[in-house]
Symmetry: C2
Subunit: 318 residues, 2 copies
């Protein structure tokens, strides 16, 4: 069908914060930076070929079916021509650490399918690309969950109503809502953070949790920052996963003391996010959190932005 | 403080649908009818005196501290003058059956505090009355839950983010959203329906549930009827409680076949509600559900209205 050419497409997909305190496996939002860049070009050999990966310290497999970006693209090509003669090669530039809780695997998958879709003259709409990236998430974490991939692809604040069938609800985002995300320099494997979760939760806590999820959605839709803050509580996951993050309680307290609306674990950690109502507050919170991380003996990176409502996009086209 | 007079205040408080499929103990909305009417007048004797109750088949206690309307008003007077010399007598007209799942106890409590508040020249705002009615709910059901009382008092569709401290979020209501509520003529005691619930739920089902709660809130705020329909699922409570309602699955199916957006148990049952997008559909659904109830050998009442956004109100002032 498609013939090899020298056409090259680079796409960027942003990091994302999943779970968002009360919304385990159901809520996510995109941030401006960091993000992954994937370059796609047509290849004479059918299938998906990962030519290079940079920024992963050699940890990610080049074999397409074992790499989330490769897997997502294989799923896309399967849908497109049932594994026919289309061949695409990828170069992956990781610009965020693995196991950081920033949706690293989702960003690579999303960037890969966005780049390849542009390369093939957009056979799929943006929404139609999501299932390919979500299936690839199962490769990375053991379970298909759409929160990171949907936020990275579509941008904004998203709610996963259902993973099967996939039902993603875009939520409104108040204009001044800022995210501060601090990444302490330790790695946590998503698989490990899932294993320690209990399979059963108390009904009473579950009721509190869905009250908070509903309230967070209402707060976002109403632009009610105070309500957003009241809703950012997690009685179920945070108490368990936070033990894997050195100094978590103190870091969170420093964020709240600095004026955060709320603060919790980003994805499965170790990154920690805080939401606030102004850029100034977001920076003050970042400084306070960075200082608290330092007290645990760890270095950290800090990313500050509004909620990224753009999502993934093609960088250039040569 | 206040002196006895012949002033009489009558207040109406509407029935309400609590839980609303996915939102156990967290969501509720008011309907137009039925509702309870409470008449309040000043009494020379300090305290709360229930002079008469009609429509309860003699089942409700006249003793104020054991009656939800009396209890709510006692809480209100305690807050007002710490159990001082204010005396109020009540006449309660139950216009809906007990144990129907329509928030009967909440309607009486709400009507009582609204009437008494007007009688005393509004010492409390509408929102400030809610805690009194919520405390009275514990008398009726064994646990304090605010979903019925908040919906009956404030009207509209409400989210209970937290019972302690009380945090009630009013949600937008799409203009054409109609409720059909069918009450099969059997009684279910709320206490009994709570006892059969499991204290633990699976994390996977809880995640689905909070995805649906978030989606229902988003659907209401966006005025997206299709999304409202997709969100009206309950994997946790309905499978357990519905066994107490004869023919439940068939009644629900008849509602869905007649075009309901969703259908589930109202409160703890046996009433069953369905939501739809027009008055015409709401009537067709009511006919279909009534027919299905009849097939189980039971009679039923049917109530059809838009979501009642007015809530409780004073009927007249003589």
């Amino acid at each position: 069908m498609t013939k090899p050419s020298s056409k090259t497409i680079r796409a960027f997909a942003p990091a994302s914060v999943a779970n968002v305190a009360c919304g385990f496996d159901a809520l996510g939002f995109a941030i401006a930076k960091p993000g992954d860049i994937v370059t796609a070009r047509l290849d004479e050999q059918p299938g998906v070929h990962i030519r290079s990966i940079r920024g992963d310290d050699g940890k990610l497999p080049l074999e397409a079916s074992r790499n989330t970006a490769g897997f997502a693209l294989l799923e896309m090509l399967q849908e497109l021509d049932h594994g026919g003669e289309t061949g695409i090669s990828l170069e992956i530039e990781k610009q965020m650490p693995l196991g950081s809780g920033l949706g690293s695997s989702a960003a690579s998958s999303v960037a890969a399918v966005v780049a390849a879709n542009a390369l093939l003259d957009e056979p799929f709409s943006r929404n139609e690309l999501l299932p390919f990236a979500v299936k690839a998430e199962a490769v990375a974490s053991g379970t298909p969950h759409a929160d990171n991939a949907a936020a990275s692809l579509l941008g904004g604040f998203i709610l996963v109503r259902s993973n099967e069938p996939l039902d993603i609800i875009p939520l409104d985002v108040p204009d001044q809502l800022h995210a501060t995300v601090v990444h302490p320099h330790i790695e946590i494997r998503t698989e490990d953070t899932r294993i320690i979760l209990r399979k059963q939760v108390s009904l009473a806590k579950a009721v509190n949790q869905w009250g908070n999820v509903g309230a967070l959605v209402a707060g976002l839709m109403k632009g009610d920052y105070d309500l957003i803050g009241r809703a950012l509580h997690d009685e179920i996951i945070e108490p368990i996963r936070s033990v894997l993050i050195p100094g978590y309680d103190r870091i969170k307290k420093s964020a709240m003391d600095a004026g955060a609306l709320g603060c919790s674990i980003s994805g499965s950690g170790p990154s920690i996010f805080a939401l606030s109502q102004s850029e100034e507050k977001a920076h003050q919170i970042g400084e306070a959190m960075g200082h608290s991380v330092k007290e645990t003996g760890l270095d950290s990176d800090c990313y500050i932005s509004k909620i990224n409502t753009q999502g993934a996009y093609v960088l250039d086209d040569s």
